[in-house]
Symmetry: D2
Subunit: 161 residues, 4 copies
């Protein structure tokens, strides 16, 4: 999808990404809900966030697969932090809406939730997310995709998940 990169040409360079990354990590660490489900922020780059969610029986639905809503919660965070990483230091990010499509059962030993900014606007940012399952044999399978709309807010800080 070369066009994806053209689309991503809209992303402004992060003036001081070290500070932005630190701000994202601090914000993530304050999300008790991410701790509850066992999600870790693996990587943060300008306009991209990757979250790891190890499978645990207590995040499962009744068939023993990861619950789609829990995968969605972690993927929402990945999209939100990807957007937040490109926002002004004094701004916060708000999730306006997101859509999750489920492509395959949440079967795997770990999941990787990747959020990418598709368009970073002054007020509205659109991010795309992918949820990958890592199977016991190490192979990866795309299990869900997300499109999220995020808003830059000036009157609060951090993400409002």
């Amino acid at each position: 999808m070369q066009q994806a990169f053209a689309g991503q040409a809209d992303i402004p360079p992060a003036a001081d990404f070290a500070a932005a990354a630190a701000r994202v990590r601090t914000s993530f660490d304050r999300q008790a809900a991410m701790r509850l489900i066992g999600a870790r922020l693996e990587r943060i780059e300008p306009g991209r966030a990757e979250i790891a969610l190890p499978f645990r029986p207590d995040i499962a639905q009744q068939h023993g697969f990861a619950h789609a809503g829990i995968v969605g919660a972690a993927l929402d965070s990945a999209c939100g932090f990807a957007a937040y990483s490109l926002m002004p230091q004094d701004a916060g990010v708000l999730t306006v809406e997101y859509k999750l499509n489920l492509l395959a059962p949440g079967a795997g030993r770990e999941f990787r939730l990747i959020g990418r900014v598709r368009k970073a606007g002054r007020t509205i940012t659109v991010a795309e997310g992918e949820a990958w399952a890592i199977r016991d044999d190490g192979t990866r399978k795309l299990i869900a995709t997300m499109t999220g709309t995020l808003m830059t807010v000036r009157d609060r800080d951090g993400i409002q998940g």
Copy 2:
């Protein structure tokens, strides 16, 4: 919204709802993820499910509000079980996709997640969800809405959240 009822005229009468309700409760009880976040199935009626989610600090995002993704996970379950309540005894329900719009911060002592079937088709069911916050003074505020697409599956049982 009188038209909503016209839309709901499509809902087939559940031949034996006692059995359907029992099946839904059993399926819900098997969702470890709902236990993890503290969600309870409050009510199940033909084409309608209501889930209660008490606020706890460990489902919060960094501002101390309920994490949107956790609210979304419980609302996805409400929509899924509302759909499942109308399906044939031998069928299972699969979440195809859902969209969550966030209307207000997740501030409250408890949340009520209500899923309603809008259209029950042979293969595809469309459900609408509402997330309500119950404030300390007992007042209710709509904090999120969802539209979910569910599929009736014959080759497995229970909801694949």
Copy 3:
């Protein structure tokens, strides 16, 4: 859906709705695309817009039903104008995103597209849409639902469909 009304309690009273209605009608009349498909603005109320779309062979898909995308275009306008009707006189409205669920084929002699504001915020408005088919015998059938996210913009006027 009593709760829908609770949700709609958020709608601010339109200070001078006559002016708002006139502004909506002017904006609609300027939408050449609505003329092309034969859509008419039937009614505008605070937070609610109703558009009529008579069936014509040239808006059909290959089975002779109204094309879902054309129904979606008219429903997007209904949601956008419902939102616009509640916005400040000097503001414009921008469609951020919308989701369309198709419930039944677009079979009918006319379609009614109804947009309603669910939550009117300072920057973001969420509207819900319903597409109804009017059959030859005059009965109505819900054929599609929409959730749309609209933004209030200050630096332009009218809807940017």
Copy 4:
């Protein structure tokens, strides 16, 4: 997005794509609505469809840009035909739902609507769409993205847009 290709590894090879392509073209040619708005099917490949939509004043909204709903209608067709291109000869395709995010105004001399299958399942196919504006100077700008859910149906033929 290397992962996109991993995700697309799910696409089955089209046994006889010449026949599938002919079937797609016939179906497109029967969509009067696409003719009405001036859309042409430019290319059809296994799991990918590209539609050209020249700008015309009669597809505009009141600012003179292409109406988002018209762009959405053409993009819905691109996603639907991308899905249809991978379906069995005796099957038809039905649009279950789609979500459109608007990234930039519909300003350009022509638009290219590209639909790609992300996951082709037995019953459900998920497609992603991109709408590109071609500016007067020949540069391209991504103006909208779509995620669409399509269903393989056995009891009718062609796309039900």
